[in-house]
C-alpha cells in the first residue's frame, strides 16, 4: 500500500506551542527596558518579582487544577484566611510553627473538602469553589472580627522580609514552587495522570487512572499552597488581613490561561505558565512606572487576556 501523507502541525504552530509565550515575554521585557524609565533597575525588578510571588506560587497548583479539567475560585479567600488564622494562632501560642501548621492544615482541609465535593460527589467545580470562596472569606472575617491581626512574633517576619543574594525570600519560595510543581507535572505519574484526566476523564478512568483520588489530591495541594502563599503575604505585611487578595483567583487563572493552559483540560506547560505570570507582572509594573491610573490597568489586563485567548485560537487553526 502506498504511504499516506501524515497529519502534522505546521512548523509555526509547533514553535508557538513550545515557546510562544516565552517569546512574547522576551519582546515585552526588551520593549519595557528600552521604553520605560527605571524599568531595568535592581529595585524595580525586585519589586516586580515580589509583586508576582503570590500569584506565582498559586499558579503552580492552579495549573494542575486546570490541567485536570477543574478550577478553583477559593484561593483568594484561602490566602486571607490562612494569614488571619496563622497570625491569631501565633499570637495565642507564641509559636511560629504552631501558626504555620494551623494555616497550612486549614488550607489543606479546605482544598480537601473542595476536592471531595467536586470529585467524589460530582458537584460542578464553579459552584463548589464559588461557595467555599464565600464561606472561607466569611470565616476569615469572623476569626479576625473584620480587622487586621497584627503579628507579635518577630521571628515570623523573616519568611517575608529576608533575602539571599539580594533576592527576597518570597521570590525564592516562588521559584521553589515552580521547580517542585514543574517536576511533578513533567516527571511523575501524578502529573501525567492529571493531564490524562483533563484530556478525557472517562478514558482515563477506564485506563485505570484513579480519577477521584488524583482530583482530591490536586485540590488539597491547591488549598495548601494558597495557605502557604497567605502565610508569606502575612509575613510581608506583618499582619493577617481578612480582606486581602480579593479577585486573586481570577488573576491566577488569567496568568495560567496566558501561559497556554487549556481551560478544557489536558494541556499545561510550566515554562509557559511562568511566562504568563511574568507577563502579567511586567505589564502591571510598566503601567505603574508610566503612571497609568489603576482604573485603566483593569481594562489593559482584560485586553491582554482576550488577546492571549485569541492567539490560542489562531494557533489551533494554523
Amino acid at each position: 500500500m502506498s504511504q499516506k501523507p501524515l497529519p502534522s502541525l505546521s512548523v509555526f504552530a509547533r514553535l508557538w506551542d513550545s515557546a510562544g509565550m516565552l517569546l512574547v515575554l522576551a519582546v515585552l521585557l526588551l520593549v519595557c527596558s528600552l521604553g520605560v524609565d527605571n524599568f531595568l533597575t535592581a529595585t524595580n525588578l525586585r519589586g516586580l518579582a515580589l509583586a508576582v510571588s503570590t500569584i506565582g506560587m498559586i499558579s503552580c497548583t492552579m495549573m494542575f487544577c486546570l490541567a485536570a479539567g477543574d478550577f478553583d475560585l477559593s484561593v483568594g479567600s484561602v490566602v486571607a484566611f490562612a494569614g488571619v488564622l496563622g497570625a491569631t494562632v501565633m499570637n495565642a501560642t507564641g509559636s511560629v510553627a504552631a501558626g504555620a501548621a494551623a494555616a497550612l492544615g486549614s488550607g489543606a482541609l479546605i482544598g480537601f473538602v473542595n476536592g471531595v465535593f467536586v470529585a467524589r460527589l460530582g458537584i460542578n467545580a464553579l459552584i463548589t469553589t464559588l461557595a467555599s470562596m464565600q464561606i472561607v472569606r466569611g470565616l476569615g472575617f469572623i476569626a479576625s472580627d473584620g480587622r487586621a491581626v497584627g503579628i507579635r512574633t518577630d521571628a515570623f517576619f523573616a519568611l517575608g522580609n529576608s533575602a539571599w543574594f539580594g533576592v527576597p525570600a518570597p521570590v525564592w519560595l516562588t521559584v521553589l514552587c515552580f521547580v517542585v510543581f514543574g517536576v511533578l507535572l513533567n516527571q511523575t505519574i501524578f502529573g501525567r495522570n492529571a493531564l490524562a484526566i483533563g484530556g478525557n476523564k472517562e478514558a482515563a478512568h477506564l485506563a485505570g487512572v484513579p480519577v477521584t483520588r488524583i482530583k482530591i489530591v490536586i485540590f488539597t495541594l491547591q488549598g495548601m499552597v494558597a495557605a502557604f502563599a497567605g502565610l508569606v503575604l502575612a509575613a510581608r505585611m506583618t499582619s493577617g488581613q481578612p480582606n486581602t487578595s480579593q479577585g486573586l483567583e481570577l488573576e491566577v487563572i488569567s496568568a495560567c490561561v496566558l501561559g497556554g493552559v487549556s481551560l478544557s483540560g489536558g494541556v499545561a506547560r510550566l515554562g509557559s505558565v511562568v511566562a504568563g505570570v511574568l507577563i502579567m507582572g511586567v505589564v502591571q509594573n510598566a503601567m505603574n512606572l508610566l503612571n497609568i491610573p489603576p482604573f485603566y490597568q483593569y481594562v489593559a489586563r482584560g485586553c491582554i487576556l482576550l488577546a492571549a485567548v485569541m492567539l490560542d485560537r489562531f494557533k489551533q487553526r494554523a
Binding site: P5, P7, A196, S262
Partner: protein, 503 residues
C-alpha cells in the same frame, strides 16, 4: 434508474492542509434521483470532501457545481441555502429542545415579535410526515433513540429545501431494523428526485442501496462506477485498498488451556438475567446481538466500568474485585471500549502518552517518577509492532485516523502483561486494511495464550474470527454456538427478538 444530468459535480477539487494534500483534483458527478456511494479507507479523503460540500472547509482549488453552476461555499449557512445537507454521524440537534423546535431552528414562524407555536407545530408535523416517522413534535430530542434523531435530522434538512443530501456512515449505530427503515426513506428521497451521496464502509449496504459508486484512495479519485450492477465486491475492495485482500480474518485454530476467564452469575444494570460463561486461555469468544441486546452493558460490568450487583469474575482462577477498571487491569483484564473517541483516547495528548498511560505504573523510579527511557522505547516499540501510522510519537492522537487510534489503544494494553482482552466493536468505523491488521493482532494475542472476548454487530466479523459465539438478546444470553454450528442464519435467528423472528 433514471438517466439524468448530474445535480452535483465535484470539479477538480483539491484541498491542502499544512504538509498534507487531503484531496487531489477530485472530479465526479452525482445525478438527480440516484444514490451515489462514496467509498474509501479512512484517510482517503471522504470526510474532507463532505466538509467542503457542507461549507465547513473551502477548497484550495476546484469547486462544487450545482446544476452546472460553480459554487464555493464560504460557510455552512451558504451550503444550506444552496440546498445541500450533510448528515453526519454525530447529529447536530439540540437535545434539550423539542423535535419541532429543532426542525425549524433558525427559521421559527412568528406572529409579530412572538413565536407562533401553532404554526411551528403544523410545519413540524408536515416535515415529520415527509420521513413517515411517528414522532411527536413535542418530544425533547434528547429522549429519542438515535435512529429517530437521525430521522429528525433528515426531516430538518428537507425542511430547509435540501436537494442534495449526503450521509456520513449513517448506519454505524443503527440496528438491522432501523437500517431497513432508513433505507426506505433514502429510496423515497431518490424517487422524489433528490441526489444522494452515501458514505459507508459496509459493502452489503452499498450493493443493496446504491446506484453508482466512487472510490477515493489517498485523496485521489480511483474510479467512478456509474452503474453498480455488474461490479463485483472484490473489485470494489481492490480499488479501495489497492491490493487483493485474501481472507481478511485469517482464522486458524489454536490450542486452548483452561482457567482463562470465568464469569459466574454476573448481574447488573442492563442485564435481565445473570450471565455465566468461560473463556479458555488462547480462546476467542465472540458476542453477537442487536443494538440494545446488553452486550456493551455486560462488558462494562465485566471490566469494572460499572459496579456489578452480583456475581463473580475470575482471571486465571483469582477473583477480581468488581466496580473498578483499576483492579481489573491489575488482574490482567483489559477493555477497549466501543466509543473510541469518548472512552478510549485522550485526544489532546500524544500518541506516546496514550500508549504509556496504564503500563507506566509498574515502570517508575521510587514508584512515582517517570522512567523516560522506558516511556520512549515502549512507545516506539509498540508503534512499530502494531504499525501505528503517525508522524511521530509526540503527535496528538486526535490527528490520527480511526484505525490508527484503535491500534494505539491496543498498544496501550499490549504494553501490559494482559491475560484477558475485551474488545467492544474493535473495528467500527475502521477501513478494511486496518481491520485485517487488527484481526491478525487478535489472533496473535490468542495464540500467545490470552483469552479474547470480542463484541461485534457485524455478523461476518464474529463468525470470521471467533472460536465460539454467544448470542445476546434483550439483556440475556440467548444461545451459544461453537464455530462449526455458527452459521449466519442460526446466529441471526437467535439474536432476533421472538416477536420479529416469528413475524
Amino acid at each position: 434508474m433514471p438517466d439524468s444530468a448530474p445535480a452535483l459535480r465535484f470539479d477538480g477539487l483539491t484541498m491542502e492542509f499544512p504538509g498534507v494534500r487531503a484531496l487531489d483534483g477530485i472530479s465526479f458527478g452525482v445525478r438527480t434521483g440516484s444514490v451515489h456511494a462514496l467509498m474509501g479507507e479512512n484517510g482517503a479523503g471522504k470526510s474532507t470532501l463532505l466538509k467542503i460540500l457542507s461549507g465547513a472547509y473551502q477548497p484550495t482549488a476546484g469547486c462544487v457545481r450545482l446544476g452546472g453552476q460553480p459554487k464555493v461555499f464560504g460557510s455552512t449557512a451558504e451550503a444550506i441555502a444552496a440546498g445541500v445537507a450533510v448528515i453526519y454521524q454525530e447529529l447536530h440537534l439540540v437535545p434539550e429542545m423539542t423535535v419541532a423546535e429543532n426542525l425549524l431552528l433558525g427559521r421559527y414562524p412568528r406572529r409579530g415579535a412572538l413565536l407562533d407555536r401553532a404554526a411551528l407545530r403544523t410545519e413540524a408535523v408536515r416535515l415529520l410526515q415527509l420521513v413517515g416517522e411517528d414522532i411527536s413534535p413535542d418530544t425533547r430530542v434528547g429522549r429519542l433513540p438515535l435512529a429517530q434523531r437521525q430521522m429528525v435530522e433528515i426531516a430538518k434538512a428537507l425542511g430547509r429545501g435540501a436537494q442534495i443530501v449526503a450521509f456520513d456512515e449513517p448506519t454505524s449505530s443503527l440496528s438491522e431494523k432501523e437500517t431497513r427503515r432508513l433505507f426506505e426513506i433514502i429510496r423515497d428521497l431518490r424517487a422524489r428526485g433528490h441526489a444522494i451521496l452515501y458514505v459507508s464502509h459496509r459493502m452489503d449496504e452499498i450493493f443493496e442501496l446504491c446506484d453508482a459508486a466512487t472510490v477515493l484512495r489517498d485523496g485521489r479519485h480511483v474510479v467512478t462506477h456509474d452503474a453498480l450492477a455488474g461490479v463485483t465486491r472484490d473489485a470494489l475492495v481492490k480499488s479501495m485498498v489497492g491490493r487483493e485482500l485474501t481472507n481478511v480474518f485469517n482464522y486458524r485454530s489454536r490450542p486452548h488451556a483452561p482457567d482463562g476467564l470465568t464469569v459466574r452469575e454476573l448481574a447488573g444494570p442492563g442485564l435481565r438475567a445473570p450471565v455465566t460463561f468461560t473463556v479458555a486461555r488462547g480462546e476467542i469468544l465472540g458476542f453477537f446481538g442487536l443494538v440494545g441486546a446488553g452486550r456493551t452493558e455486560l462488558m462494562r460490568l465485566l471490566c469494572g466500568a460499572v459496579p456489578p450487583t452480583g456475581g463473580e469474575v475470575r482471571v486465571h482462577g483469582a477473583v477480581v474485585a468488581g466496580g473498578s477498571p483499576r483492579t481489573a487491569i491489575r488482574a490482567g483484564l483489559v477493555f477497549c471500549p466501543e466509543d473510541r473517541k469518548k472512552e478510549g483516547i485522550i485526544p489532546v495528548r500524544s500518541v506516546a502518552e496514550n500508549i504509556n498511560l496504564s503500563a507506566r505504573r509498574s515502570r517508575l523510579h521510587a514508584g512515582f517518577f517517570l522512567q523516560n527511557d522506558w516511556e520512549r522505547t515502549n512507545a516506539a516499540e509498540q508503534i512499530a509492532r502494531l504499525g501505528v501510522r503517525t508522524a511521530s510519537p509526540s503527535t496528538p492522537i486526535r490527528l490520527l485516523s480511526g484505525g490508527n487510534q484503535q491500534k494505539a489503544i491496543l498498544a496501550r494494553w499490549l504494553s501490559e502483561s494482559v491475560r484477558v482482552v475485551v474488545l467492544d466493536e474493535p473495528t467500527r468505523g475502521i477501513d478494511i486494511g486496518a481491520k485485517s491488521e487488527i484481526y491478525a493482532l487478535i489472533h496473535d494475542l490468542a495464540a500467545a495464550g490470552t483469552s479474547v472476548v470480542i463484541v461485534s454487530s457485524e455478523l461476518p466479523e464474529v463468525l470470521g474470527i471467533a472460536d465460539r459465539v454467544i448470542v445476546m438478546r434483550e439483556g440475556m444470553v440467548a444461545a451459544e454456538f461453537d464455530r462449526a454450528s455458527a452459521t449466519p442464519e442460526t446466529v441471526l435467528h437467535a439474536a432476533l427478538p421472538v416477536t420479529v423472528a416469528s413475524a
